[in-house]
Amino acid sequence: MKPAPFDYRRPETVAEAVAALAGEPNAKVLAGGQSLVPLLSMRLAAPAMLVDINAIPGLDTIAVESDDRDGGVRVGALARHSAVLASDDVRRVQPLVTMALSHVAHATIRNRGTTVGSLVHADAAAEMPVVLTLLGGSVDVEGPGGRRTIPASELYVGPLESSVGHDEVAVSAYFPGLAPGAGVAFEEIARRHGDYALVGAAALVDGETVRVGYLSVSDVPAVVDLTGVADADLGEAALAQLEPLDDIHATADYRAQLVRVLTGRVVRSARQHAQREGAQ
């Protein structure tokens, strides 16, 4: 249970980090380490080099972009889950981020793990990739060719695989704000509080539009459009667009049942949220 040897770099600028990654094809970025270190300890991964970004100043920002079209919030690569969860700005501008983060692991893991790291790690059982996909957010990355923005719809390409290049550093993520009158909600079912969910669902209700994103159902974040579906049919309508997976944690049938239950519940609670927001 000890990691294999690796070279270690601790750059102080993003440019240095990119240069280090470019010089070693088998290098990996180390952010909070809350997913990477277990993989190394179990020797499921053995990169030749780790590029620790924790000493780069200025990456831990959480900023509201009020001049932006949809007035969202930008989270830097070193903003810990705990800081994003505690941010009043985040809660006000996009409460779905706060709702979902409270389900990410335990407080101690959140003290070190980063929200951007979780987005890039691309675990289909993780909460934040689904939130980013449902909201239509994006991740900014910096590589040898400069900076580019990857929309969430192009970020998740396969199980644990994102479209961030091996020589790119994700510098921030952008979560669009909640439109006036819209509502959001998050629900999940896990064996124990703090565990990865067996199935989780995030809903966005905006006027007539109803969209729901699922974690732990497919091997990438899955979003379905349920606009115009009668309340009683929500679960079946969602299942018609999904193919729940079988694994050691749950059978496909059980996951389908959880989708039925959670879809109605999360849409109802997003509608209530929209009403409360509208009443204010």
Partner: protein
């Protein structure tokens, strides 16, 4: 191949240490093997059990999920740093003794550090908050009830101090 060693300065329980470690040395191992502070226990070594929890710049952190090299310049508190200045038991330790909050004691260091930080941030937790404070730590012996009592008792001891 000889592994490259890195010079590292960390402050642990108020004392500054300079050590040389390979990059892959987990912080939990650096504390136990390089510094001889065996109070920090190692259970699962992948972040699940909480036995290795220490405070890094005040925040509860899994020592098994950090490389020692990443702790460069950090202020660390381990269970050894929770006693009072005169060597007597600190409030959380005292509460565990009074409430029978441990049996084998393997999980205890992680609970003590977690609760110490938890009560610093929330000195008067409700019963629910006291339970939530220890939700990320596993104990195979006690059944948790006495640990939750110890959280509440520690809050009392601190309030009366």
């Amino acid at each position: 191949m000889s592994e490259e060693l890195h010079d590292l300065r960390v402050t642990v329980n108020g004392a500054t240490h300079d050590i040389r470690v390979p990059a892959r040395r987990l912080l939990s191992d650096a504390l136990r093997h390089d510094l001889g502070l065996t109070g920090t226990h190692v259970g699962c070594e992948h972040g699940v059990c909480g036995a290795c929890t220490i405070l890094v710049d005040g925040a509860p952190t899994r020592a098994c999920l950090m490389f020692a090299v990443s702790a460069q310049g950090a202020e660390i508190t381990t269970v050894e740093g929770l006693t009072n200045a005169d060597g007597s038991l600190g409030p959380v330790q005292q509460a565990f003794a009074e409430c029978h909050g441990l049996q084998c004691g393997f999980c205890t260091p992680g609970f003590l550090t977690t609760i110490t930080a938890g009560l610093r941030d929330n000195p008067r937790p409700t019963h629910e908050e006291a339970r939530d404070m220890v939700a990320g730590n596993l104990c195979r012996c006690t059944g948790y009830q006495n640990i939750v009592k110890a959280v509440e008792r520690a809050a009392e001891i601190q309030a009366n101090a």
